[in-house]
Symmetry: D2
Subunit: 397 residues, 4 copies
Amino acid sequence: MPGYTHLFTPGPTNIPEVVRQSMNLPMEDMRSPTFPDFTLPLFADIKKIFQTETGRVFIYPSSGTGAWEAAITNTLNPGDKVLMSRFGQFSHLWADMAARLGLDAEVIDVEWGAGVPVEAYASRLAADKGHAIKAVFCCHNETATGVTSDIAAVRVALDDAGHPALLFVDGVSSIGSIDFRMDEWGVDCAVSGSQKGFMLPTGLGFLGVSQKALHASKAATMRRCYFSFDDISRANDSGYFPYTPPTQLLRGLRVSIDLLLAEGLPNVFARHRRLAEGVRKAVDAWGLKLCAKEAKWQSDTVSAIVVPDGIDSAEVVRRAYHRYQISLGVGLAKVAGRVFRIGHMGSLNEVMVCGAIAGAELALIDAGVAIKPGSGVGAAIEHFSLTPHHAALAAAA
Amino acid sequence: MPGYTHLFTPGPTNIPEVVRQSMNLPMEDMRSPTFPDFTLPLFADIKKIFQTETGRVFIYPSSGTGAWEAAITNTLNPGDKVLMSRFGQFSHLWADMAARLGLDAEVIDVEWGAGVPVEAYASRLAADKGHAIKAVFCCHNETATGVTSDIAAVRVALDDAGHPALLFVDGVSSIGSIDFRMDEWGVDCAVSGSQKGFMLPTGLGFLGVSQKALHASKAATMRRCYFSFDDISRANDSGYFPYTPPTQLLRGLRVSIDLLLAEGLPNVFARHRRLAEGVRKAVDAWGLKLCAKEAKWQSDTVSAIVVPDGIDSAEVVRRAYHRYQISLGVGLAKVAGRVFRIGHMGSLNEVMVCGAIAGAELALIDAGVAIKPGSGVGAAIEHFSLTPHHAALAAAA
Amino acid sequence: MPGYTHLFTPGPTNIPEVVRQSMNLPMEDMRSPTFPDFTLPLFADIKKIFQTETGRVFIYPSSGTGAWEAAITNTLNPGDKVLMSRFGQFSHLWADMAARLGLDAEVIDVEWGAGVPVEAYASRLAADKGHAIKAVFCCHNETATGVTSDIAAVRVALDDAGHPALLFVDGVSSIGSIDFRMDEWGVDCAVSGSQKGFMLPTGLGFLGVSQKALHASKAATMRRCYFSFDDISRANDSGYFPYTPPTQLLRGLRVSIDLLLAEGLPNVFARHRRLAEGVRKAVDAWGLKLCAKEAKWQSDTVSAIVVPDGIDSAEVVRRAYHRYQISLGVGLAKVAGRVFRIGHMGSLNEVMVCGAIAGAELALIDAGVAIKPGSGVGAAIEHFSLTPHHAALAAAA
Amino acid sequence: MPGYTHLFTPGPTNIPEVVRQSMNLPMEDMRSPTFPDFTLPLFADIKKIFQTETGRVFIYPSSGTGAWEAAITNTLNPGDKVLMSRFGQFSHLWADMAARLGLDAEVIDVEWGAGVPVEAYASRLAADKGHAIKAVFCCHNETATGVTSDIAAVRVALDDAGHPALLFVDGVSSIGSIDFRMDEWGVDCAVSGSQKGFMLPTGLGFLGVSQKALHASKAATMRRCYFSFDDISRANDSGYFPYTPPTQLLRGLRVSIDLLLAEGLPNVFARHRRLAEGVRKAVDAWGLKLCAKEAKWQSDTVSAIVVPDGIDSAEVVRRAYHRYQISLGVGLAKVAGRVFRIGHMGSLNEVMVCGAIAGAELALIDAGVAIKPGSGVGAAIEHFSLTPHHAALAAAA
C-alpha cells in the first residue's frame, strides 16, 4: 500500500493530530490588529518549555541551524575565543560554523559515544584567569550518537572558576523532551527547533536568550540582520515580527505547547525516559550495543545502535524503508554504516515504540543480523509491563 | 500524550494519507455541470472492486446496514421465504432485519466460529422443488467471530439444485480485502461500506446489484423510497444522485479505489493474507485460540481471539484503550467478555500489525494473562521474515 | 487558476475553518469506552438548535431525504390520510415519497412562489371532525423557490380545530438559520440535514421527534429497520449507535453546534435576515423579481431569482460556473430555465454575499441581461451600511 | 460567525485547495533514500518560474528577508560599493540591511509612488569608469506603494555602460505573478518567498542565482554559514539540504509550481493584469488615487490607495477587519494612515476581487469616505465584462 512511512527518525517527529488540525488553515494577516492577542501569550508560554522566567525566546523562520547562527552573531565578536567540544555530527557542525563565522574556537575532540568533557572544560576555565574565553558551547543531546551531556555540571564548572563566559547550549533534540533548565543552569543561549520535541514540521528555529546574552548583544560587532536580536526584540515587544512569520507553524506551536503543558513537563520527561528504556532493553536483548559508551550518556530521545561487524547499517535503514515503510535514522559521518538510530522523541507511546523495535528487528533480520525474532520487542514489553506507566507517574505527581 | 488512538478495530480502518488529503476540502455543488465528469468514471471503477462487469454498484449515503435494507426492500416481496444462517452478531442482525422487514426467514443457526453451512443450504435448496425460497443470504466475512465463508460453494449449491433464488452476500468486511467475485459467483446483491477495506470514514453504503436483481426490483412490492433502485439508477445514469450525496466521501472514494487498483486486487488480497497469518502465528505463540473453529474459516481481515477462562476480554480492550491508546475490537453479544478482536484490514503493513500485537500483549499481561512478553510479536516477525514479502508477490504477478 | 468553486448554492454551504479542522482526523472506534462522553452531550446540544427540550433529535447516517422517510415510516400506518401542500421541488418530492410509502396523501397544490396554505389547512382540519387526518406536512423553507412558510400559524390551525394530527416539518434549509421552534410550535417530526445551516458536509440526516411522535411509533406498523426509532433510541440512550456512525461528521457537528450556540441563535437568525435583505435589495436594483410572490414568503436562506423572458437561467448558472468559478443554484423542475438561486445560508458575511451578487451580475451580463454593472452590489452595500451590523444586534441582545 | 478572515493583503495570499491538501500530511524523513526523487525535479522546475535556465534557485528555510541577506553575504565583500534606490518600505529595508551588513550603499531616494530611477542609475553607472560599484539593487515590485519598476531597462543601462556590476532584484511580490525574466534580463540574484505568487504559507525564501553570482561567491569574504551558497549547493546537488528542510512546504511548492505551469506563465501574468485593472477602475470610480504616480508604475499585484485628507487609512483597515472580516493591507512607514492596500496576487479570480472591492467600499463608507455604494464594484464588473476573459487569452495563446 503506497503512502507515507512510519517515522522513527530523531526528528522530524510525529505530529499529534490536534497539532496537525491546527495547521490545516488558510493564511492570515500577520499585521492584523488582533495578531498580538495571539503572539504575546505564545511568546510567554514558550518560555515555560525552556524553563526560563528571566530570559526570552525568539522564534525565527529558520531551521535550528539558523538559531545556532543567531546565537553566535548576536553576542560574540570576530576573533572571540570560545570553548567547544566535538563528539558527533551536530557538535561537529556547530564547531565548524563557529570557525566559519570568525570565532577562535578551541575544540576538544571527544570519542564519539561520550559527551561534553566537563572536567576538561573545568580545568580549561580555571586556567583562563584572563577570561579570554567568551563563551562555552555544549551540545546537550548529540542526535548523531544518542548522547546526553550534563549541562548543570558545566554551569558548576563555570561558577567554580568564577568565569563570566556565556553558556551556549544546543538543545535541539532535548528541549521539550529531556529536562532542560535554562534559568537554573544559567544558560545564555539555548537553541532548539520545531521538528523535535515540539512535534511540529520543520521551519521554526528557537533561541532562548538570557538577559546577559541580550546585554552582550548591545556591544557585539558581528554583522547580522535577518537574525538580529534588536530587530526581533523590537517587533516581538508589540506582538509582531520584523518579517512575515510562518503563521501556520505558530498556530501549531500554540497547540503543541498546550499539549506539553497539559501533560506537565515532568511527565513528558518521565514518558521519554520510560520509552527510551524500553528501546535500550530491546538493544540489549538483541545482543547489540549503543553508540553511547556509558549509561550516563544514554539519551532519552534517540538511541544510536551499533550493528555487528560485516553489516552495513545503511542497508538496514534502506530495507526498513523500502520493505516496511519505516524511517529509521541513518548513521552520520564517522558512524555512517556502523550505526542506525531509533528516534523516540515527541508524540509517542509504548505501542509506537514497539512498532519501531519490531520494524528494526525485521530489517535487521533481513539484513542478515542473527537476532531472535521478538527478543527486542519482548524485552521492551516486559519493561513496560513491570514499570509504572507514565500516566501513573503523572497522577502521582 | 493526549490524542486519538491507534486503530486496530475491524472497521473503521486507517485512512491512507492521500485519501485523507483528498477529503480535506470545501463543499462543492452536486448539481454542477462537471459533476458527472467525476461520478461516471467513479461508478465504473467501483465495479472493479466488486469484480463485476455486468452488474452495477449503488453508493448510498448510509452505513452498510442501509445497504442491507436496500437489498431486501428493492428485490423481495412481503412474506417471501428466504434462507439465512446465523453464526455471529452481524449475520444475526441481518436475519433480524429480514424478519422485521416482513420476510419469512428460515434461519439455520450455526455454532459461532463456523460459517455458512453450505451442505445444509445445498440440501435445503435441493428440497425446494417449488422454488419457494426467493433469496439465499450469506455473510461472507462475519466480523464478530473472524470467520470467512465459501460463497463460491453456495453458488455451486444453487446451480446444482437448478435453483433460481437470488444470492445475497454481506461483504462489508471482505470486499476490497478478501477475494470477492461478484460476477463469477453469481452474486445478486453484494453489500459493503466505506469504513472497511475501502479505507474511508463511515458514511457510504455500497450495494452491488446484478441484472437479475435489477430485474427483480421492477416487480418487487416492498415499500421503499430513500433506497429505491429506480430513483438512484435514474439519477446515477446521468451522473447525479436523487438527493445531496456526501461529495467529500466520494472524493475520498476516488482515491481509495485508485490505491486499490494501483496495488492490484490480487496483491491487496495477498497482503491481507500475509498480515493475517502473522496475527495467527502470534495467537498460537500466546497459547490462545481463535474463535474460528477451523483453519478454513479463518478470516484474513479480523481475528477474534478467545481469552483464557477467568479473564474478561472487555477488560483487555479497556486496558489497551486507556493505557496504550490502542483500539481493539470488543467481543459482541454471545462472545462478549470472551473474545477480543484485532482488525487487520485496509491500510496496514507489517510494522503496524506488530504494533497491534505488541499492544495486545501489553494489555493481556496487564489483565493477568500469563503470556511470555514478545512471544506473539516474535512469531509474527518470524513469519514475516521467512515468507515472501507481498511486494515480491506483486512484482512476480 | 484551477480549483474548487465559490459556493453560493442553497446547500451544501461553506464549512467554517474550525469545523473543517475538526474533521481532518483519523478514524476512531465508535465502540470505545469514552465514545459516550462525546456523544451524550452532543445529543443534548443539538436539541438546542431545534429549540426543543421535551423531544429528542436522531442523527442518521443519511441525507435529509432519509430523515423524511424516517419520520413517515416510524409514526404512520399504511393507508393513513395525511395533509400536504406542494409549491416547489422539495415539497413535491416529499409528497411523492408519502404516496410511495403508502400514505393516502391529500396534497394541496399551491402556486410556486407561495407557501403552506394555512387557511386551506385550517378549513380542512376543521372539517375533519373524525380525525381521519393523521399528520399534517409543512415545508418550512422551500429551497427551490426561496419561500418560507408560517409554521406557528399551522399550529394555531391545528389547535383551533382541536385536531390531534401529528405536525411534520421539513426544516432542511431553515433549522439553524431561520427561527424554528420545535416545542413552541408543537412540531412532532422536524427534518433537517448536515449540509445547510449546520455548515457540514452532507451525510447526516437529523430528525427531531416529539414525545407524541415517539409514542405514535410504538403502534406504527410500517416496516422499517435502518431508520427505526426503537433501534436508534436504545443505542443512543447509552451513547452509541445501532450501526457504525460517521464519526468524522459527528466531530464536525460538535464544533458547528458550538459555533451556533456561541453566536447565539437570535444573532444567527438576524445575520441571515440582514444578508438576505442585501440580496433582495440587489435583485430589486437589477429590476428583477424573486420567485417568492410576496414579502411574507421571502426566505432568509435562499433567493430564487426570475430571469427576464428570453434568457435561460441555466445558461446564467453555467457561465457563472465556468467563467467565474462560482456555483449558483439552478432552477429545478417547473422553474428550470426561469430562475437561478443564490444561497445565503450558513457561514457567510457581507463580503461573501457581495461576492455572490457580483458574480451573479457578471454572469447575468455575460448571458445578455441588461443590468447596470454594480447596481446590485451597490444596493446591497448601501443596505449593509445603513442598517445595524448583526454584531451590534448581538451586542445589544 | 467567528473564523478566519478573507485575505486581501499583498502577501500572504490565498492557498489553493490542492496546495493546502498537499500540505496536510505527516512529517517525512528528509534523509530518506527516495527524497531526491522528489527534490531534484522540484529544483529544476522552480527555475521555470524564475525564467532561468542557466542559473539555479536556492530554497531556504526563511522568509524573503533571509534570501535578501543570502544574496548579499554570499557574493559581496565588506565595504563594497553598491547602487540602490529607495521608494517604499521594502526598498528602504533592503537598503538598511545593506548598510548593516557592511556595504557602502549609495542610495538614491525617490518619491514614494515612483520606482527604480533608471536614468539616474544609467548616468551613475556610466560615470563609474573604475567599476567601483559591485552590485546594483532593484526592487521589482515595491509592495508598500504598489509600484513596479522596469528591470529590463536597468539591464540596458548596465550593458550600455559596459558595467560588470551584479544585478540584484527583489522579486518577492512579482515572481510568479508579474513577468520576471531572470536570464533575459541578466539578473544575478533574484529574491522571492513562498507566501506571495507561490501561494504557500510563509517559511521559504527563494534565491535565484546566476552563474556569475555563484562565481562571485567563491571569492566573497563576508561571513555566512546558514545561508552559504557552498553548503546548500553541495547538499542540493544530491537532492538533500544542509539542515532539516521544511518538507511540508516543499510538498506544497511542488503543487503550486504545477499549478502555475499548468496555467502557463503568460496566462498567469494576464490574469493578474486583468484583475489589477479591475481594482484600478474601482479606485478611479471612487474618485480616489493610487499611490503609484503614473500608469507605468502601477503594480499588477498590489494597489496602494490614498484615502482623502482627514481620513485615517488605518481606521479603514481596522473597520474592514473587525466588521467585515476582511484583511486589507495597512499603509507602512511614510504612508501610514494615508494609504491602504488591496493585494491582488496569487490564487484569485474576478469574484474574489469584487468581494475585496465591496469590502473596501463598506469599510470606506463606514469610515466616513463619501463614495457611491457599488461604484467601485460596478466599474470592476464593467471592466471584467467588456474585456476578454483570461481563459480566452489562455486559449488563444
